[in-house]
């Protein structure tokens, strides 16, 4: 006898693609992304909304995917770390995190990147104080944050250059 509960079926828009998926209705967006869509780039550190590791963008705003039911995301535009690069070309944030020490163990990186992207999308030239505030809900145990601030600043410079 199977204990699999009833499943719901819907289409989620993830990284610009319409993805049909069926899942148990109690599942969070985090769980559906990781377990049902195999998008394991989004991580979890607490599943209680305390650490920021699971941050994704929903309609352009950072959202803790462990606190949102996937059911509530129908029709919304979800962006995850898997959609950040442009083809094989890393997003300037990704390149900076890899180059200047923003990523050590890499576990908080996806949440940091998505949160930073939301910031830079709105504010192309944020001050360091603004950067510190923007990622204040994303815990990192490796870096002491400094090289993360520096990574975001470097990415902002590269993005501004690109726009010129």
């Amino acid at each position: 006898m199977s204990a699999v509960p009833d499943r719901v079926h819907m289409t989620l828009r993830v990284n610009g693609e319409a993805l049909p998926v069926s899942f148990a209705p109690y599942k969070t967006l985090l769980e559906v992304l990781r377990e049902d869509l195999n998008l394991t780039g989004t991580k979890h550190g607490c599943e209680l909304g305390e650490c920021g590791a699971c941050a994704v963008l929903v309609d352009g705003e950072p959202l803790l995917s462990c606190l949102e039911l996937a059911l509530a995301c129908e029709g919304r535009e979800i962006q995850t770390v898997e959609g950040l690069a442009n083809g094989n070309e890393l997003h300037p944030l990704q390149a900076a995190f890899a180059d200047v020490g923003g990523s050590q163990c890499g576990y908080c990186t996806s949440g940091m990147l998505m949160t930073a992207k939301a910031l830079l999308d709105k504010e192309p030239a944020p001050s360091r104080e603004r950067i510190k505030e923007a990622i204040a809900g994303n815990l990192c145990r490796c870096t002491g944050y400094q090289q993360i601030w520096e990574s975001i600043e470097q990415a902002a410079r590269v993005l501004r250059e690109k726009r010129k």
């Binding site: 550190g45 599943e47 050590q104 576990y107 990186t109 510190k132 204040a136 490796c142």
Partner: protein, 809 residues
Amino acid sequence: MNFDTIGKPRRRVDGRAKATGQLRFADDLAAARMLHCRLLRSPHPHALIESIDVSRAQSHPGVHLVLTGEQFPIPYGIMPVAQDEHALARERVRFVGDPVAAVVATDEQTAGEALGLIEVKYRPLATVSSPEEALANPEPRIHDYGEQGNIHRNQSYEFGDVDEALAKSDHVFEDLFFYEGNTHLPMEQQASLASIEGDGKLLLQTSTQNPHYLHRQLARVLQLPAAHIRVIATPNGGGFGGKCDPANHEFVVCKAALLLGRPVKICLNREEVFYQHRGRHPVLMKFRTGVTKEGRLTAMHLQTLLDGGAYGSHGPASTFYTGVLTPVTYELPRFKFEACRTFTNKPACGPKRGHGTPQPRFGQEVQLDKIAAKLGLDPAALRLNMVTKPDSLTASWLRIGSTGLAECIRKVVEMSGWNDKHRKLPPGRGVGLACSSYMCGAGVSIYWNKLPHSGVQLLLDRSGQVTVYCGATELGQGSDDVLAAIISEALGIDPSFVRCVTGDTGITPIDLGSYSSRVTIMMGNAALQAAGRVREQLAAACAAQLDTLPERVRFSRGRVYAAGEPGKAMSFVEAVALAEAKFGTLGAVGSYSPPKAPGRYKGAGVGPSPAYSFSACVLETEVDPQTGWITVPKIWIAHDIGQAINPVLARGQVIGGVYMGLGEALMEEQAFRRLPAKLSGALVHRTPSMLEYKSLTSLDMPEVEVALIEDPDPNCPYGAKEVGQGPLLPVMPALANAVYDAVGVRIDEVPITPDKVLRALEKKARGEAPRVGPESFPAVPYPAPMFVLPPWEGGDGSEVKKNDAAAVV
């Protein structure tokens, strides 16, 4: 030296995978027909298990297996002398959170439901909440082994007659310190996936720092030949020591996979990570230190008392580490060190970044600040005047090779503007200075053997790709990057031509693991040996074509050429093809064992290392006298790294260490409380969540200015010493000393919190001693010391009878 790769800032080899989310951590793995496991944990801090009824859980729809301690008769433990754990408790539970049973089901939800259907009858026992209680209550014993009662380890060493030296000293300072426990809090919760491979053998993919030690323990507990078990250490989402011990859940999922023939996965939830713990020991310390009126040390008597929690873990080593590295930083003619570790009914303590040494370093460096204040000396000058010399021995027979400590002190003094700030800033603002040292790898293995500590294998072929195999594990510290950098430098190729295969007991040569800051030095030396052997083959194969002698063949920037004759050159790929034609399949192995330690007394194996790193830190603080609130605007740190392999990563390790140290200094506490009697009186973790266990956020973290002091150490690959642990150590005492400089109160306790500052300020206002910290040290039944003469008093590093010592001198 002029390097192609070493010392150049570079994208880390695993940087792209991390930034794209492609790196697969343990919980990112899945397999067809995979089942999920969850653990039932004890709600009692100490109880006998009278019965376990799993029948309802077993028949719950979706449940495939329920396991209890019945299935795990064989104990384990990371250290041979502390085999005191079972994957699931048998007969007795020892802390709230001790695993008692496991359910394997189609999904986590179902497994969780079934946990609630397991009926366990417990008979609660009296509990021990602190070392003081452990000493006062030898019964009931938490374990039936150990020194006596609830004392796990108890030891005493004396290097020269300390009481005599103290009696002759101009001043003797006696101080008590307490360092609260704290935990690693890795971002990644521990996860493991066990499965049976096509060949019928067991595969465990798991977040572990030490796949080799885990492999040995799995073979023992599961009664399988080690060759039939493969452990892959998945990339760790932070370790900090918390993933060193073999963990209950790792045995459980392996057993379940073997019984069911299906993949079984577990991921601990965040609360469980606090119970798995193995973090910083709470330590009470007493320092009696003699000094001359000029401020030079004459002798030190250090006593420590460790709260070990419910199991042995690394405890025997942790106990040593609360003292053995104390004499490394400053010349100390005589040293006595007594240490005692007790069992208590709390999650087991173990190794956390700095393993056992941050606690005594805190006490030592705060006491030095008090000594400087009392003698009217500058704290930096006091320290500079007595730093240990290169190529010297300590009183305890540790061999110090290179040391950059003096340079570190001078550098932070200069960077921070110390001379214009110390005792000169306005009230409420202050600076504090502290130093430290750490080892570059433990000199002996955790289990006794004569085998190498690290092995590396290289494989090359005509494609020009170099594959390097090593059992070392990547925690985020950059061990793969170090490996690729060393191989590429030695062979003169770009790191992108090197593929690292690491942390897989089925494929890679043994490396003991990512602990004790050993990987760069030990893996690096093994890699250099392997690369040197390959270079000889390549040189022998190319020399004739280059019209030169094999010893004159050079390797750089993807070219192989004759020294001084750059016209005589070929590409690295051509050279490999020539060598493959001449010698057949190309490869080499390398291995490394640390040098033998000079001490010959029993216990001399803990503390020796091929090299020691040194750090000095200045921390500035602002303390609000109304609220006690502590702000840290800036930290300067200089770290003697020997040689940075990749300065981006080295700087990241330094800042990350400072961050973790500052968190410990200001707020992090793995602390416990008793529930009221009507709620069972259980001893529970105060804050088993990331929200309540306070750690620094991006908004709390000050700017850190880093200086890397590079003086290559001859025992280390390209001179590179450790950087992963050392820079954490001086931060806590630097804060305590800065608080004193700011508001004139001593907080002899970590963490240094606003309530303690306020209490100390109130005492100061009342004219009492402006200090908050432990008030007494219990009577610990330390054994009679093992007496060893320091090198400068004769002897050969062996134990001697204390009464005969005078005759030897």
